[in-house]
Structures are given as structure tokens and as C-alpha cells.
Amino acid sequence: MSFREKNAWIAVLTTLAVWIYYFAAFWIDVFGRQLDGNQVLTRFLICMGISLVVMVGLNIATGVMTPKNIDTPPDELERQIEARADRIGFKLLEALVPLGLIGGLLATDTIRTAFPADPAGSVALIFANGILMAFVLTEVVRETVHIVSFRMTA
């Protein structure tokens, strides 16, 4: 398995583990009508921190095990796979962001009614997390394309 494929596995597994927890907790709060901005922000920062530490740590560990791969620039096959993953990821993001925004705009009144204590804050939180979810999903798909492409040529 190449160094870049290992990076892709690390990114997918870490992202899935950390952000599935984050978004599950967030949407449970939303549907349970218990949205607390401070709690969401704290949870977001913790998840972001864990995600960064685990990914950087595992990538360094992988690099130490195969030191000569760290500085090696990607070869033509790796660049081709990278370009394919970027293209698919960008197309997905292009579709998800407008969908999320339109869906959010259509649901604004419902959200305001559901959270009478802080309607504006709740709408902003749900919008922000919807966009964040689109970015995380795009990243998972992008890295999965890497893995599938590497496996197809292995």
C-alpha cells in the first residue's frame, strides 16, 4: 500500500469516526429541541482538535515507518488519481451547497417556530452545520475515490 493510500485511509477512518459522532449528536439535539450554541461550539472544537491530532499523528507515524516517501512528490498515477478525486469532490460540493442552502431557506420558518427561545441563533447554527456537513461528506467521498482508485490499480 502506497504512502498516499495510507493517508487516504487515515483521513476517511478518522473523519468518519469523529464527524459521525459530531453530526449524530448535533441532529439529536436539533430534533430533541435542545440546541445550545455553546455546547455545539465546544463539541465542534473538541472534534476538530481530535481529528487534527489523530490525522497528523497517524500520518507522521506512517511517514516515520517509510521515511523516504515523505518528501517524494506524487508520481503521474498519483496525480491522476488526485485530479479525479478533486473533480468528483468539487462536483459533489457544487451540488450539495446549493441543495443545503435551498433546503435551509425553505425550512427557516419551521426552525424559527421550533426554537422560540433563540430563533435567529438556531437558524444560523443549523445552516452552518448543514454547510459543514456538506464539506465533511465531500472530503469523505474525495478520499474514498482515492482509495478505490488505488485499489483498482493495486
Binding site: 500500500m1 502506497s2 504512502f3 516517501n69 503521474e76 498515477l77 498519483e78 483498482m152 490499480t153
Partner: protein, 74 residues
């Protein structure tokens, strides 16, 4: 995905050059071992530049490394 209609003799050429490993060939042409393996197994068609580099390593013409499979292409 159908394999490209190109065959190659890289395995044979490596054998003829003192059992050169895929890693050694990869280092000589600036690629990863995994990419060399993909080329050798006909799962990836290299660029023209990479093909010339491979031929140069073995000191042969490019046509002796890669062959166009006419029947498969038609």
C-alpha cells in the same frame, strides 16, 4: 474497466537485468513501486515520457517494452 490494449515486457526485462526489483525500477524513473506494479500488470498505461524512461533504464527501444495489441483495440 477494460485493460488498455497495450502489453509490456517489463517483468521479462527486469528479470534480464539481474532480477531488478520493482522498487529499483521505480527509483530509477521517479515513480512509486505501486505505480510500476500497475504498469507491469497492465492496469495503468504510463505517459509517453514514463514509457521512454522505462525503455532507457533497460537500454532498449520503447517498442521492445510496450506493444500495441491491435486485435484488442479493434
Amino acid at each position: 474497466m477494460a485493460p488498455p490494449p497495450i502489453s509490456n515486457t517489463i517483468r521479462r526485462l527486469r528479470f534480464d537485468h539481474g532480477e531488478m526489483t520493482q522498487q529499483e525500477l521505480a527509483d530509477k524513473i521517479g515513480m512509486t513501486r505501486q505505480t510500476v506494479a500497475a504498469i507491469e500488470q497492465n492496469k495503468y498505461s504510463p505517459s509517453l515520457e514514463a514509457a521512454f524512461r522505462i525503455a532507457e533504464v533497460f537500454g532498449v527501444e520503447i517498442g521492445q517494452v510496450f506493444q500495441w495489441k491491435k486485435a484488442a483495440a479493434e
